[in-house]
């Protein structure tokens, strides 16, 4: 029997030699399988004999204990060396998505591996082909409904050309440049759907400049409108205003409707178009709230008036940058040529007044400047300003109104720098269809008339 002990000892040695590694492999596999449904980070299982060294980072104390118990319950495991700990807590819990030219980088903390993969998938889906880099680590301390908030913010990063969105606890900070006009408004609208408890701490997202341009081409006799308008109503209103103000130019309309216009857009662009109509040639560029008008005024007083007055007509916070020069004066002509030029101009358009009043409407500024420019070319000619009204209403009242309108036009011309003694006024009650310029040689040596 003692001899048998030797044999038993040998048997034991062989069994120990051959079985240890398979046993350890089997226990490692069973332990791993036991943790299959447990959410852990940095999991490591090492088996020596029947003892399991189990290291991992758990996302809650309950989860940590449950994981250890699961490994202890694996059949064959003798002892578990518990080296588990909790995932570090992030305070504040910061998550970020940053977009540059080539990629989107998700950084900061994510509460669970599943959240992390969900965010990565959502980013890839939202960004369609753009490289997404994962720099997120795992941490405890995420605010409630973190996933929902982060997913909504990922949708917003897709609207940015470059920029960064940061979620710090439940405060959202945004900065960057949107890809399209109106992107800022779209993001602001989407942020209203943030989960309860979340708020926007700072939104410094900028949109590409909202640009409207008008170019008055004296050679092609066109007014070309390009850029953006807020909607179809403003579009129609601007084109109509351009048609009234630019009486001889053909309006080429290349405008597109887009959201993102600064407030007071139409209120600024309409008077700016009026100022452009007074230029011989010029360009109007509206960039966000900045209006830049460059070109040649027809005479010095017009240039000064545009420089001084246009900015006052703009809504608050709008800026006006005039670059107005004065067109070189054209060669002087005699009264007959002046008369013909007046007739040409007034054949294309008429000076317009407020209904029933003697107030000249702003749309006539371009025409009046042309008339003044022409009058300046014949300094020796005296000019008769002839006012007409239509035949509606009482004749005495119409005559008085005609007289007032003639006076208003005379005042306008004098204000522009023409000597008052060059003008005489006449008024009729019925609207004249006669040519605009009528020589009055009988009364004056040389004369011309402006009538409407």
């Amino acid at each position: 029997m003692v001899a048998g002990c030797d044999s038993a000892g040998h048997l034991w040695a062989i069994a120990a030699w051959t079985s240890t590694e398979p046993l350890e492999a089997d226990l490692a596999q069973r332990s791993t399988a036991a943790l299959k449904d447990t959410v852990l980070d940095k999991r490591r299982i090492a088996v020596a004999g029947r003892d399991v060294t189990f290291a991992a980072e758990a996302f809650s104390e309950d989860g940590r204990l449950s994981a250890v118990v699961s490994v202890e319950a694996v059949p064959g495991v003798r002892m578990v060396n518990d080296e588990t700990r909790l995932v570090p807590e992030a305070k504040p819990f910061v998550w970020s998505a940053e977009r540059d030219v080539v990629r989107v980088t998700l950084g900061g903390s994510s509460p669970l591996p599943s959240s992390k993969s969900k965010l990565m998938e959502a980013a890839r889906a939202a960004l369609g082909g753009v490289e997404v880099a994962d720099r997120m680590n795992l941490a405890r301390g995420a605010p409630q409904r973190f996933d929902n908030a982060a997913l909504l913010l990922l949708d917003q990063i897709a609207k940015l050309k470059d920029g960064k969105i940061t979620l710090s606890d439940n405060k959202v900070t945004l900065a960057g440049m949107t890809r399209e006009l109106g992107g800022r408004e779209a993001i602001a609208a989407a942020l209203k759907n943030l989960p309860e408890g979340y708020s926007v701490a700072a939104n410094e997202v900028k949109a590409p400049p909202y640009i409207f341009q008008a170019y008055k081409d004296p050679v092609a006799v066109t007014l070309t409108l390009t850029g953006y308008v807020p909607d179809n109503n403003v579009h129609a209103a601007l084109v109509a205003a351009a048609g009234r103000k630019f009486f001889s130019e053909k309006v080429v309309d290349n405008l597109k409707a887009s959201i993102g216009a600064p407030s007071g857009f139409a209120a600024a662009v309409v008077p700016a178009l009026g100022a452009l109509s007074r230029l011989s040639t010029g360009t109007l560029v509206v960039t966000d709230r900045e209006v830049k008008l460059s070109g040649d005024a027809l005479y010095e007083a017009a240039a000064a008036e545009i420089r001084a007055d246009l900015g006052k007509e703009f809504p608050q916070n709008w800026q006006f940058k005039p670059e107005i020069s004065v067109k070189p004066a054209a060669a002087p002509v005699d009264a007959t040529v002046c008369q013909q030029l007046f007739a040409d101009l007034l054949g294309k358009a008429r000076i317009r007044f407020e209904s029933g009043k003697a107030d000249i409407v702003a749309d006539s500024a371009g025409l009046l400047d042309r008339l003044i420019e022409t009058a300046l070319r014949c300094p020796n000619a005296n000019i008769e300003v002839a006012g007409h009204t239509d035949s509606d209403g009482e004749e005495p009242a119409n005559l008085a109104l005609s007289e007032k309108r003639a006076q208003a036009v005379t005042d306008y011309l004098v204000k522009a720098g023409l000597p008052a003694n060059r003008f005489s006024r006449s008024a009729t009650a019925a609207r004249s269809r006669l040519p605009a310029m009528i020589p009055t040689r009988a009364r004056r040596r040389t004369a011309a008339s402006i009538s409407w």
Binding site: W12, S19, A48, G76
Partner: protein, 98 residues
């Protein structure tokens, strides 16, 4: 234990058969006995080893080898007991009645 039995049934069966064989032959082939003192030392060693195994103080592979050895030795001893009893039973049946 159940896991070890399932995993190593071959080795444990080997120990049992070895014990049976040793028990079978020990009835007719007495070896030299051990002294009383040595018996005490062996008993104390057995108690210490079993206590070490139960208290799991030996870590890792050594702990496993200790457990494995004890189980195999216990089964070997059981085999010895059963083998010697069987041999005794067979011999007493085949002996002519006095």
């Amino acid at each position: 234990m159940a896991y070890l039995t399932t995993f190593f049934w071959g080795w444990l069966l080997g120990s049992l058969l070895l014990g049976l064989a040793m028990g079978w032959i020990s009835v007719v082939q007495h070896g030299q006995g051990v002294s009383k003192n040595l018996k005490r030392w062996l008993a104390a060693l057995a108690v210490i080893v079993v206590a070490a195994s139960l208290s799991r103080v030996v870590p890792g592979r050594f702990g496993y080898w200790l457990d494995l050895g004890l189980i195999m030795f216990a089964i070997y001893l059981c085999g010895c007991a059963v083998g010697s009893w069987l041999r005794d039973w067979v011999v007493s049946r085949s002996a002519p009645a006095a």
